[in-house]
C-alpha cells in the first residue's frame, strides 16, 4: 500500500464506472459518504448496483442517486425514510431487493471475511426464506445466506490518517466498518485527515491496509 493515499475527489472517482456495484453505508442519513456521492453525481455515473441499508432521506446522500435515476438495482433493508424511493419502487421505476438489516451485515461481513455463507434463524417462515436453502443444525432450522461483495465501497470517516487508518464516531460508524472489508476498492472520505502516527492503535476501527484512497469530506 502507498504511504499517502490522499487524492482529490476527481481522482477518487476514476474507479467509478457505469454499471459497477457499490457498497454505501449510512443509517437514514447518518454516516453516509455524502461527498463521494456528490462526486458520483458530478461524474454522471449510472446503472449502479447499490448495496446499502437505506436511501438516506429525500434530496440527501443516497437519495440523490435515487432522484437522478442513477441506480439500476438496490439491495437494502429499509426505504421508508425516503418518500421518493418508496414512490419509485411502488411505480416500478426502481428495482429493490429487501434484506433484513442484520442479515445484510452478516452477508457483507461474510463477503469481506472469506466466509462462504452463514446460517441465520432470521427470516424462517417469512417471504425472505423463499428460494433459499434451509439447513438444520442440532434440530433447529436456519436460512443459508450467501456473501455479498462489491466492486467499490464508499466510506465516511470521522478521522483518517494519510495511509487510510480510519476512526468512526458514535452511531455514524454503523455500516461503514463492515462495508469497508468487502469491496475490491475502498474509498474513504474523512472529516479530518491527520498524519500517520497521530491515531492511537486502539482507536483505529478500519486498518489502512483495507483502504485504497482517502478524500477530504
Amino acid at each position: 500500500m502507498p504511504k499517502d493515499k490522499v487524492v482529490s475527489l476527481e481522482v477518487a472517482m476514476e474507479k467509478i464506472h457505469d454499471g459497477i456495484s457499490i457498497l454505501i453505508p449510512g443509517f437514514v442519513n447518518v454516516g453516509v459518504p455524502e461527498t463521494l456521492i456528490q462526486g458520483i453525481i458530478a461524474k454522471g455515473s449510472k446503472d449502479l448496483e447499490i448495496i446499502s441499508n437505506n436511501t438516506s432521506v429525500k434530496g440527501r446522500g443516497i437519495g440523490l442517486l435515487v432522484h437522478e435515476n442513477r441506480i439500476k438495482h438496490i439491495t437494502c433493508s429499509h426505504i421508508g425514510s425516503n418518500t421518493e424511493t418508496v414512490e419509485k419502487v411502488i411505480n416500478g421505476e426502481l428495482s429493490v431487493t429487501f434484506v433484513p438489516q442484520g442479515t445484510l451485515c452478516e452477508r457483507v461481513r461474510a463477503g469481506g471475511a472469506g466466509i462462504g455463507g452463514i446460517l441465520t434463524p432470521v427470516g424462517i417462515g417469512t417471504p425472505i426464506a423463499e428460494g433459499k436453502p434451509v439447513v438444520e443444525v442440532d434440530g433447529k432450522e436456519y436460512l443459508l445466506e450467501k456473501p455479498i461483495r462489491a466492486n467499490v465501497a464508499l466510506i465516511h470517516a470521522w478521522k483518517a490518517d494519510k495511509m487510510g487508518n480510519v476512526v468512526y464516531r458514535r452511531t455514524a460508524r454503523n455500516f461503514n466498518q463492515v462495508f469497508a472489508t468487502a469491496a475490491d476498492w475502498v474509498i474513504v472520505e474523512a472529516e479530518h485527515i491527520v498524519e500517520v502516527g497521530e491515531l492511537d492503535p486502539d482507536e483505529i476501527m478500519t486498518p489502512g491496509a483495507l483502504v485504497d484512497a482517502v478524500v477530504q469530506a
Partner: protein, 220 residues
C-alpha cells in the same frame, strides 16, 4: 391513573413489563412512548440497532445536537453516561445472540401462534423490514403493542396472519388498549383487562381464539 387510555394505556402497561436494568429495544412510533410511562424505580437501557446502548432521548430546546448520534428513526438523540457505540454488524450480533432483554414493536397483524406481520402490505407499502426481523427473532422477550382493531374496526389479533410475516412463533405478549394477551404453549391467554372492558368485548373484537382463565387481572 383511571384516565389513561388508548395508546397511552398501551404504553403505560407495556412499560410495566420492563425490569430495572433491562436492555430494551423500542420500535419506531408507538413503542418509544413507553419511556413516558416508566415506573420510577425502573431504569432501562435503550438499545438502538444502528449501533448504541444507552440512548437518552432527543436533545431538548437549547441543547447542542450531535448529528453523529441518532435513534432507530434516524433522529438526533443524546447518550447517557455509561453509553457505548458499536458498528451495525456487532449490533445485530448482540440482538440475534439474545443479549437484548425486550424488544417492543407495532403490528399490522399478530396471531395466536405468535406470528407477527409488520413490514409489508403487498401493493400498498414498500418500506422494508429494516431490523425488525432480526429483533423479533433474537430478543429474549417480544412484546407487540397494537390497537386492538384497525381503523375500520377489523380485528388485528388473528387466528392466522394473512400478510407476509416478520417472524414466525416469536411473539410473547400482546398489549392493546383493551387487554394484555400472553402466548403460552396452549394458546393466547387473556391475562388482563383495561378498566371497564369486559371479556365479551375483547372476544367480540378478536379473531384469535382466546383462553379465558378464571382470574383476570387489571391493566392498571
Amino acid at each position: 391513573m383511571a384516565e389513561i387510555k388508548g395508546r397511552d394505556l398501551i404504553a403505560y402497561r407495556t412499560a410495566r413489563f420492563f425490569n430495572d436494568g433491562d436492555l430494551v429495544n423500542l420500535g419506531i412510533g408507538m413503542p418509544t412512548k413507553c419511556l413516558d410511562y416508566l415506573p420510577e424505580d425502573v431504569d432501562v437501557w435503550i438499545d438502538t440497532e444502528n449501533g448504541a446502548i444507552g440512548l437518552a432521548g432527543a436533545p431538548g430546546e437549547g441543547e447542542e445536537i450531535d448529528y453523529d448520534v441518532c435513534d432507530a428513526a434516524g433522529s438526533p438523540s443524546k447518550l447517557r453516561p455509561g453509553a457505548c457505540c458499536f458498528d451495525s454488524f456487532t449490533s445485530f450480533g448482540y440482538i440475534r445472540g439474545g443479549h437484548v432483554d425486550i424488544t417492543v414493536l407495532g403490528a399490522y397483524e399478530v396471531d395466536q401462534e405468535g406470528n407477527l406481520a409488520n413490514w409489508m402490505v403487498p401493493g400498498k407499502t414498500a418500506a422494508g423490514m429494516g431490523g425488525a426481523m432480526d429483533l423479533v427473532a433474537g430478543a429474549k422477550k417480544v412484546i407487540v403493542m397494537t390497537e386492538h382493531c384497525d381503523k375500520k374496526g377489523n380485528p388485528k389479533i388473528l387466528k392466522k396472519c394473512k400478510l407476509p410475516l416478520t417472524a414466525a412463533h416469536e411473539v410473547d405478549v400482546i398489549v392493546s388498549e383493551l387487554c394484555v394477551l400472553e402466548r403460552t404453549e396452549e394458546g393466547l391467554v387473556l391475562k388482563e383487562l383495561a378498566p371497564g372492558v369486559t371479556v365479551e368485548e375483547v372476544v367480540s373484537k378478536t379473531d384469535a381464539e382466546l383462553i379465558i382463565p378464571e382470574k383476570i387481572g387489571s391493566m392498571i
